[in-house]
Amino acid sequence: MQGGKRLVVFDVCNYILFAFLGLIMLYPFWHTLVGSLMSYEEYIRKAIVIYPERPTLLAYREIVRNGEIFTHAGVTLFITVVGTLSSLFVTSWVAYGLSKPFRGSTTILYFIVFTMFVNGGLIPTYIVYKSLGLIDRIAVYLLPSLINTFNLILMRTFYLAFSQELEDSAKIDGCNEFRTYFQIVLPLSKPILATIGLFAAVSFWNTFFPSLFFIRSVEKKTLQEYIYRIVSSMNQEQAVASDVVVPGETVRLANIILSALPIILVYPFLQKYFIKGIMIGAIKG
């Protein structure tokens, strides 16, 4: 936008606005982090939590001692790694195929996109999973999530824009589609793979529904459902307007920090990848 080079009142306000927004976005995380590092008494005592007077790892020690979080973190970690890799592979495989013009490719595309608007609902899905033997098995986290339609469309858009000359020269050299895919296209797909991979990884890490609906064994439940149980077990007391903040409040905060840690740590570094990826997908799509 053109507006001259001067810094106008508007610009100053704009900068302030986003600084303020940044603060609002960050404060709840900060509060949770600092709260988890406090002793229970100090937590109740203080108003706005800015820094812990006497930082302590009490809450974390409690969690480690209890140990249940590790089971669920393990499940979640497993499905995140395996799920992301398998999903990336299958999705890019299919997206590449769909980006090529061939008889029926549009039909298949509509066939797939249609499912974004219509789905069977919970019970029918449950029945299908049951007949496939997926109920209460770890596979239920992985198999149905192999292809995400939205990601598929994004990847296909990326491949549509892919340089045709590279592929043509490969074909002249005698490569069939498979070799072209593995040896040329795939290595060059790194940006989109990183983008989709990040989306997929976050999605897997936050898995909650399938754990709630399709898994019965406690040891197979995901981290998020564990957090939900911890959080909602306090909910009843909260709702009854108890006089005392239930002991373990800081423990709850610590649980949240632990489960959010991987995301928050990895996030700043990968942010630039997925911005680029979305831009590519959004503009062309």
Binding site: M1, Q2, G3, F10, D11, N14, L17, A19, L21, G22, L26, H31, G35, I44, A47, V90, V94, G97, L98, K100, F102, R103, S105, F111, I112, T115, F117, G121, L122, P124, I127, V128, L143, I147, N176, E177, W205, F208, F213, Q224, I227, Y228, V231, S232, N235, Q238, A239, S242, D243, V245, E249, R252, L253, I256, I263, Q271, I275, M279, A282, I283
Partner: protein, 317 residues
């Protein structure tokens, strides 16, 4: 012509040129690329549709679907007469309506404002921060909210008390619960929502802005006359999609945050069905509710698309 590259094999293939057999042979590798997807979608997305018929039967988990007796629209009749259903339906519409009215414009406005920031570093840092809330789950955010909105220990209430007023039990108070739902979702998703608008904004040719500047248009007028019309299509498509989702959003959020005290205003269709249908194993009932939801969603989608077309816009289909 691309065909020539494989011309030699093509001449040897059975079937007339252009027939199915021809194409199947010519592109057989490509079909292999796509085959897993077809199987996948058939299995996980289309197969469940077959079982939608449960809504018209009296399905028991012990029998197979074909063994269960037909009951026509009985399940729907029960559904519409169930006490919590109407409240849940009303809440769903209301909450999503608020979300749309308050939550839809915010990412748009933020994107436009963000677009105005010259300092690249500042812009990038800000974006990094505002995208962050999108990535945590509702289970986690729910926990954070319980803390921050707590009656005795929470910072929000501590501020309220220091201002001399009574503390509010936000999550247990019918007057505030819906506001908490809407506001927390805005907090979580607004930053992320700017991405698609920002992407669309970058698609507007800079020459348009220069021409307007030459003609004496200030930045505000540039916004209204260039930026907004330039991304009009994107806005409309997103709006239509959101309207189609009107009965859909928020299950995890509401499930985590709700409690028995606020059911009257805080229960949405999905949580209602979860509680009464699933937890009580009333599967036909729950499926009927699901069909009803789909039906209304499709209705809203088409209606808003028609409306957009009536206004002269492109719409979705």
């Amino acid at each position: 012509m691309n065909d020539d590259l494989k011309g030699s094999t093509a001449k040897l293939l059975p079937g007339p040129r252009g027939g199915i057999a021809y194409h199947l042979r010519k592109d057989r590798n490509l079909y292999l690329f796509v085959l897993p997807a077809v199987v996948f979608y058939l299995m996980f997305h289309y197969a469940p549709l077959y079982f939608l018929q449960i809504a018209f039967k009296n399905y028991r988990i012990t029998q197979s679907v074909s063994q269960s007796p037909w009951v026509g629209f009985e399940n729907f009749r029960v559904l519409f007469n169930s006490p919590g259903f109407l409240a849940a339906l009303r809440n769903t519409f209301l909450i999503n309506f608020y979300r749309l009215v308050f939550g839809f414009p915010i990412p748009l406005v933020l994107a436009i404002l963000l677009n105005e920031i010259r300092n690249v570093t500042y812009k990038r840092v800000t974006q990094t921060i505002i995208y962050l809330p999108h990535f945590i789950s509702w289970a986690m955010l729910g926990g954070i909210l319980f803390n921050m909105l707590a009656l005795n220990g929470g910072p929000v209430n501590k501020i309220i008390v220091s201002l001399g007023r009574d503390p509010i039990l936000f999550l247990g108070d019918k007057r505030y619960f819906q506001a908490v739902l809407v506001l927390s979702q805005i907090w979580k998703e607004s930053g992320w929502g700017t991405i698609i608008f920002l992407a669309a904004l970058t698609g507007i040719s800079p020459e348009l802005y220069e021409a307007a500047w030459m003609d004496g248009a200030g930045r505000l007028r540039q916004t209204f006359h260039i930026s907004l019309p330039g991304i009009k299509d994107v806005i409309i498509v997103l709006l239509i999609l959101r309207l189609g989702q009107i009965l859909n959003t928020g299950f995890e959020q509401v499930l985590v945050l709700q409690n028995t005290m606020v059911l009257e205003v805080g229960d949405i269709l999905d949580t209602y069905v979860y509680r009464t249908g699933l937890l009580q194993a009333r599967y036909s009932f729950a499926t009927a509710a699901g069909i009803f939801k789909m039906f209304v969603a499709a209705l809203m989608l088409f209606a808003s698309d028609r409306f957009a077309k009536r206004l002269g816009e492109r719409g979705l289909f």
